[in-house]
Symmetry: C2
């Protein structure tokens, strides 16, 4: 029997025959995540419990088998893409709610719990789990932790990291690690919880997660504002973030994004001269909504504002968000491949960034569509390309490098919520110093001395 066949036999013995699958169809299904490229894993594993994950890591260590943790495979930096000779560890069979105490605003779930299901579960009790990545209807909480996922609500409510009280995980040595607390405060020892959040499956496999919850806001209202230029929309973003009412979402769409959704028949009621769109949400006590809407209207008002609508009724709100919701399918239809970046700059630098993006598009002759979470200065910059056009791909790569340099020069960061994975690893050393990278690699070796946890991700190639 070959080495890998031996390994798979051992895994099958540990998990049961149907939960270590190496049939071609299963391997094909798990050969990629929501990122271009694919690589067949040797086997796909479906653990049912923490102790099964521990058994997997022990065997993987013995057999030098790389393990790629996978939530829903909805990430778009290749974080859950298999590497050659690896096993995918899918957490989809671990989605139990282990402990839910509404009176303590706390829930403990297995890592495979679907984020949207968790949200719906706690909303029945008037509670609220704010992080809302676009994939929340199907993504899994373990993946959210691995990437420190965010979404539009982050501008008011913060990111996944801010809601994790503690977790249970298996390190690369096969040891169980319990971190954090079940209380809303705790300062005993180093913060291993937040070291694991955002570590992209390279330090440990997260099996169980305790999350804090908030009271659900009573009501929400939405505003949609059309502007005559990118610059005037960005100035409005800066005005909103400089006054005292923090919106629960503040989304931006550039002229190309607007054109794309109009091409799909959305947002037809906007003035023809609209070159940028802001979508603003406020939430809270019903008694405060009118005042919050007024604060947003007054901050939105300025040179270049063409039209401003607001809504509080659910169907009217949905109508205003239509342009934003149509965006993802619209841009996907525009080109064979969408390189989806996720840069962040201080909100006061958003206009400068968008200007630089236009310059890059002109210089490299690229089609670039930008939109995103403007209240955080977090822009999704989409390069629409064709992988069969080598010249175009080279220009796109050049454009990416220019983009990242500009972002860093403006005081920003390469990724706000998507992470690094395999696709951005070569750019990490633009942002992190050699000292910081060396320390991080050393930490990785502590947790995973054999390098079996998601190798080839997060750090530049050695």
């Amino acid at each position: 029997m070959s080495e890998i066949a031996n390994t798979i036999a051992a895994l099958r013995a540990a998990l049961g025959p149907d939960r270590a699958c190496d049939d071609p169809q299963t391997r094909e299904l798990y050969a990629t995540d929501d990122t271009p490229g694919r690589c067949l894993p040797e086997v796909v594993l479906f653990p049912h419990s923490h102790s099964e994950v521990q058994a997997i890591v022990a065997l993987a260590r013995r057999h030098h088998l790389p393990l790629v943790a996978r939530g829903a495979g909805s990430g778009n930096v290749g974080g859950a893409q298999p590497v050659p000779g690896s096993a995918v560890v899918s957490f989809e069979c671990m989605q139990r709610i282990l402990d839910y105490v509404p009176a303590e605003r706390r829930i403990t779930v297995e890592a495979g719990c679907i984020t949207g299901a968790l949200q719906a579960h706690v909303e029945r009790d008037g509670l609220f789990y704010p992080p809302d990545p676009g994939s929340s209807p199907y993504c899994r909480i373990g993946g959210n932790l691995a990437m420190n996922a965010a979404g539009p609500h982050a501008v008011k409510y913060g990111v996944t990291r801010d809601y994790v009280l503690g977790l249970r995980a298996v390190t690369g040595t096969g040891e169980t690690l319990c971190t954090g607390v079940r209380t809303s405060k705790g300062v005993v020892g180093y913060d291993l919880t937040r070291l694991l959040v955002g570590s992209e499956g390279t330090l440990a496999l997260i099996t169980e997660v305790s999350l804090r919850l908030l009271p659900k806001p009573e009501g929400r209202a939405t505003l949609r504002a059309a502007f005559a230029s990118t610059a005037s929309a960005c100035a409005a973003v800066a005005r909103i973030m400089a006054q005292s009412v923090t919106p629960s979402a503040l989304e931006f769409m550039d002229a190309h994004a607007l054109a794309a959704v109009r091409g799909m028949g959305a947002a037809t009621d906007l003035p023809a001269a609209s070159q940028a769109l802001l979508l603003v949400e406020v939430d809270g006590d019903r008694a405060t909504l009118a005042r919050q809407v007024e604060a947003m209207r007054s901050a939105l008002d300025g040179p270049g504002l063409l039209q401003c609508d607001d809504a509080q009724a659910p169907d009217a709100i949905a109508r205003l968000w239509q342009a934003r919701k149509a965006l993802s399918p619209a841009t996907k239809a525009m080109a064979p491949l969408k390189i989806n970046e996720d840069v962040v700059v201080p909100v006061t630098q958003l206009a400068a960034l968008l200007e630089a993006i236009e310059a890059i598009a002109r210089k490299e002759r690229l089609q670039i569509v930008s939109f995103g979470h403007a209240g955080n200065g977090n822009l999704h910059v989409n390069f629409l390309v064709d992988p069969s056009d080598a010249g175009l791909m080279a220009r796109a790569h050049e454009g990416l490098r220019s983009l990242f340099r500009k972002v860093l020069a403006l005081g920003g960061t390469l990724s706000g919520e998507h992470g690094i994975g395999s696709v951005k690893r070569d750019f990490v050393s633009l942002e992190l110093s050699p000292e910081s990278l060396a320390l991080q690699r050393s930490i990785r070796r502590l947790f995973d001395p054999d390098g079996i946890l998601n190798p080839g991700k997060l750090f530049p190639a050695d």
Copy 2:
């Protein structure tokens, strides 16, 4: 010249003659923090900049000189207490504001910046830095980060960790480490920022800190509620934390605390039968205050409520808080020594914890006064003792161990905001597993291979 004289000469050459002080008076002044016990440092260092801190660490490494970082020395777990043969690194000469951008809700300061000064500085622009340890008029932000300080506002606004965007520090190898981002989001690499927050000066000396700020709430209101029993007050705490309005402070005082402040002439307007007191603060838009007060009143109302007052005018608010403010001097006057614990349990377990504390006090014949941040389940349990009474001290130690065991059995943690330092290090292994401790010690060795940064703190003795 002796080895230490050599070391001091080298430090004096690097910093200047007046900023490496080994005169008896200065050494005496820095021989302790706000913790019983003292130990003379060999020398006290007053760096003026990041690069001077770097020079200090380089020399300390060469000369095997332990370094004890010190903010204001207001901690009460011995975190800033010198160890034998050590140098204190005081950050009091590093309190500059380096970069303040109100429009981005961000401020960067040196580690010696006084927390209250920072708060006052940003409030002029309508901004708000929420963490508010009791020592905020004089404590320093670097110390707040080292201990992950909190305070009454944590129940609504979170702790120091939640406000740190990034930092600059010098590790035990003398290397400069820049962590985090200047934006409100960022996921590039491991979260070294939060690994350093709460690390009690054992991983690196923090020199510069970037903090995010919030808009300042427009108004606040206070309620004070007296209860006939501890249990009825705890039930009210649980009711408050189970409804949708989150108070900005929710403080508890037990019968002994009440008796203490009454002995000082405070809170004389409370019913004689009062056995427990809650102080509740709400904040936000003025338009919402009345409704928030109503929500608190309705949650406070239940069996055992004797009296409930509320106030919105500053002097009336101050009157209601009088009992809480009088507490620290009142308890200090009660005994030669106050052992001030800082345990946390889930809010639903607060009554069980307080019952257990009464049982411990009876069994060990101890005087125990409890109060604290009830909304976080964070109780300051004060053992009032006399160090000259060996029998009493032994019973107190026994009582502490029983307390910690009970706290952990209730799902809690040993420290909510004070940290471990030297005084709680022997109890840490009650909470952290051997695996977790071993990993944390390994991380410490990565950052500080020679063990020169605050040795003898945070972890149990080897």
